[in-house]
Symmetry: C2
């Protein structure tokens, strides 16, 4: 860690010439709680971390930042911010079918607040432990609350799932349910009581790491649903030079979403709401049984929601009767969007 | 890149069902200008980047964030912010004797501003090109101006320089000159005209990558001077369980610093001012000729400024007459510190 956040304390320490450890030291606090792994040659505490990859693996790297008031409501609990900051990065590993290994964390805080950092670490490190991810470095700085994480994973050469692999006539699948996080946000924004099931989906998304890994070699293309199904599927279509036809009635919905919203609102949240961190992937029709079996093995449900078409760039939605369906504009919501 | 900064645009694109590319697209702008390397299997444009390491190298990772008003004055030119954001990370590679290879960039901006981003990239990519570093991913988000970079480098197993290797009776060396960046900051803070040579040192620090690499196998310990010589040397002393005795009159000063400040102020800036990004390293006395030769080869001057002592944790300064010297408190300055 680069210690930039404790410069003033360090300067004071240096000024006293005997350089005692500063009484309050965020980096030391983080270091003391971070677990390591056998492949971490050097972790927190130097100018950089040193990590050893197996010789037969490629490195997979993603980086995502969460800013207060933009990516999470200001009233989000520090532990949930910690969880989510890592979850959105793990979700990128899932979408690549990579096995996460190490992460770095840059934490900008308006002031040094040990209690806040401890709470933040409760969430961050709980999820890190679930995925055996070691926190190996980063920095703390003074500034508006912002959390930037870089995640590092491993994948076999040519083993990664990409956005660009979708082929015409592939099935389009999505894991879990859609619209829950956006539903919570809608309730938060309109000032009504937030359904706790929906709020948990917003605050503590489950990165589908095991599912992504299980889909390697089966799926043709994959992306995580962070910006909303339509936006993310559009990324896949652009990268693969294909189109998509979706059955809006097939989009999986949780009971909580169905209970909280009318059908049109729910459809809009499912098709355009972000922050679900489910996987949207395409695969040949012949792989249906393999997919169900692979995902059953990691206890992740998945639903077929449409098919890949040759109409490059065109995403068409229709309902069960075959009629075209367009999400209403008010469905296109994202916190701070 | 994870595209979080263009969610709204994407949602609008998706809403129109035909998903045209958004007119203004920061990620595409960055992608179009970023150079690649042969070991980049997959760069910007998917959920994560894929990178291939040589089988006989360890991965070295550092992450540093610059926040406006904390790490650079608000009037800093975007190109200088871009340069500095990468430079401070490259400096961490230098301190480890690692060869930088790839970086990711998370850019938080108050609003999408193509001109600003282009200017920023001018500085960022110019320095990246100098060091053959490929920008392979990251994200853009909405928020107060903040630049977070994760740098990835390569090092031979056991080839890295660490903070923990200093031994009693080692010489202590520093590259280049000290106090220039802090001198510029002092002038900026006191409202007087900033010397352009000093300002250039603040805005466009030169990461000592070649020097760090040349010192591998010769130096015992190394750190980059980001927080100020005393603070950074204290890190080395703590990690190595040793002390240091410095000759304050030996600290290298630029002509610009000498011209701009009285001797006491200059000493304070040299010993405690941050942001110089020179390397401070320790090496056995027997290595003096090797060091001069290695650094001559990369055209980087270095100065012996003291020696490592057995007084663990104690950094002592003395002047040429052997008298103890303590930097005045007003010398302990850093922007926003």
């Amino acid at each position: 860690m680069a210690h930039r956040g404790r410069r003033q304390q360090e300067r004071r320490a240096a000024a006293s010439v005997t350089t005692p450890m500063p009484e309050f030291d965020l980096i030391a606090r983080i270091h003391a709680r971070a677990a390591s792994r056998g492949d971490v040659v050097l972790g927190i505490g130097d100018d950089a971390a040193i990590l050893r990859l197996p010789p037969d693996r490629d490195l997979v790297v993603a980086m995502d930042t969460l800013n207060t008031g933009v990516h999470f409501p200001e009233d989000t609990a520090p532990a949930d911010i910690g969880w989510k900051a890592l979850a959105v990065n793990l979700s990128d590993m899932a979408a690549m079918a990579a096995t996460p290994a190490w992460c770095t964390l840059s934490l900008s805080l308006p002031q040094s607040d040990a209690v806040w950092v401890d709470d933040f670490l409760d969430g961050f490190l709980a999820l890190a432990a679930q995925h055996e991810v070691a926190l190996v470095g980063g920095d703390t700085t003074r500034g508006p609350l912002s959390v930037c994480v870089t995640i590092h994973g491993l994948v076999e050469p040519r083993g990664a799932l990409r956005r660009s692999g979708a082929r015409v006539d592939d099935d389009i699948w999505v894991t879990g349910t859609l619209g829950d996080a956006a539903g919570a946000l809608r309730q938060w924004q309109t000032g009504i009581a937030i359904d706790p099931v929906l709020r948990a989906r917003l605050d503590r998304p489950t990165p589908r790491v095991a599912a992504g890994f299980a889909l390697a070699g089966i799926a043709h293309a994959c992306i995580d649903v962070s910006d909303g199904l339509l936006a993310d599927l559009a990324h896949v279509c652009r990268a693969s030079r294909v189109g998509a036809a979706l059955d809006v009635d097939a989009l999986p919905a949780s009971d909580a979403l169905r209970d909280a919203f009318d059908r049109e609102t729910a459809r809009a949240l499912q098709s355009a709401g972000g922050d679900d961190y489910e996987l949207c992937f395409t695969a040949p029709k012949t792989a249906r049984i393999s997919i169900e079996s692979a995902l059953f093995g990691c206890d992740v449900p998945a639903t077929r929601i449409g098919r890949v078409t040759a109409d490059a760039g065109l995403v068409v939605l229709h309902d069960a009767d075959g009629g075209a369906w367009s999400p209403p504009r008010r469905g296109y919501e994202h916190f701070g969007g």
